[in-house]
Assembly symmetry: D2
Homo-oligomer: 145 residues x 4
């Protein structure tokens, strides 16, 4: 029996409420230390040029890093963001964006992840952003326990 957070927690904190539910974030896959998220294009996610807004990409980075680290924390703990950084590599003009995060290190109180974001058009993926983020472990709110 695992003492780590179950994969279902990723789903609950993503699709259960708030910004990530409203925007349409989907958890494609999660395992210990890794996660893939997806987000389909819609007008209310774009910037002036018709590409995904940088802030939406940053939110994918944030959410994916949080899940990657949280998946390696003991039950009852969740990662909240200390800092994140994103380099934007290409316009995100695709029909969907995918964020793939991988925990680089998770200790007692802090975890770090790297995150790659891809813009997908039909069967072509273009890496459009690369990020790193630090999470801090805090107690999971009672409503999620």
């Amino acid at each position: 029996m695992s003492l780590l957070n179950p994969p279902e927690l990723a789903e609950r904190i993503t699709s259960g409420q708030g910004y990530t539910r409203a925007a349409g974030f989907r958890v494609v896959h999660v395992e210990a230390g890794k996660v893939e998220l997806a987000l389909a294009k819609k007008d209310e996610l774009l910037q002036f040029g018709g590409h995904f807004h940088g802030g939406v990409i940053a939110a994918m980075v944030d959410q994916a890093a949080g899940i990657a680290v949280t998946s390696m924390l003991p039950k009852g703990k969740i990662g909240v963001t200390v800092e994140l950084k994103v380099n934007f590599l290409a316009p995100a003009g695709g029909e969907e964006i995918l964020a793939r995060a991988e925990a680089l290190q998770v200790g007692g109180t802090i975890g770090v992840a790297k995150i790659e974001v891809f813009s997908k058009t039909q069967n072509t993926e273009t890496r459009c952003a690369f990020g790193t983020a630090t999470m801090r472990a805090v107690d999971l709110p009672k409503s999620f326990a």
Copy 2:
């Protein structure tokens, strides 16, 4: 007659379409090299704990940095994001968040800004995030010219 972008451009790229209009970003004030944005709390902007989602705060950082740099670019140019970094300092649990950006340096092709984000409850402001971002000047899309 100024050769720099007019303040109205900030309004257009913020309230005119897409993510920033849907989320409710407001341009409170803009002058050469400086901008203040505001965003009122609503459910679809929050994370699992009921605070503004880190990705929404990062989007405020991104938009504010873009406007601060763009306000110092010649007419016809606009700043797109090369990279951004945000440190989260306190939960953003207020009724509104404010982002105040200031350009640190704007050259021919690149501009850098610092951005402070405040969580506001009644008359109290708490600094909840601090960011830096780099913008690259590109041609303004024809539809905005």
Copy 3:
């Protein structure tokens, strides 16, 4: 009697040994949450163009952030670097560089600082870099207690 680390600690961890002593880092001023460091130009600190090497500037950012946060930690604790980010704003071609750090937030386990670096030539200071850094509080090694 203060329960925080004394200003002398900044001096000891800077001038006492290792890289910062060899490079010539000087503690100009330190108070709770703030520090100024200085470093005079010499050949072994420069890059191919004759300016201070970016890594030397990053080291100033690192050391200044560590001292600014450590100065607000209880005696017996010291800040070690979780992450740092530096934006380079202008070539550091002066006779001396100065780093001024200010703690933005210090909690039980983590502290964040912002750092400005200036290149100084005679009486002119040019801001050449801007950074942010996160520190984690750990026990001070016994040799420093």
Copy 4:
């Protein structure tokens, strides 16, 4: 005949002068878009706890990113640092540190790289830092042409 910078340029800007020569940076391997640097431990590179100073690790990140991007620039151009960020993952207590950089994207004026730093003791490598950096292409100084 390649129109890109030759591998020898990496050697010249690293071992030829200044900080990187004085510290002892060695170019282990360089190819288009990739580089490995090494640096042996010595007292004047350490911090108060006896590990490599964070600023020295940041300098490795900076130099490696610069070479990785420069190796993909046309002859006569060199990358100077726009910004860098480093996450420190473990104490760098080894006998040597290695930095491995890979260009993620190189365009006409800007290039981005990711950099991993390892602390090496005998035959064991521990990843001690992970960084990202943005470079800007400028004309190579005449003395290097």
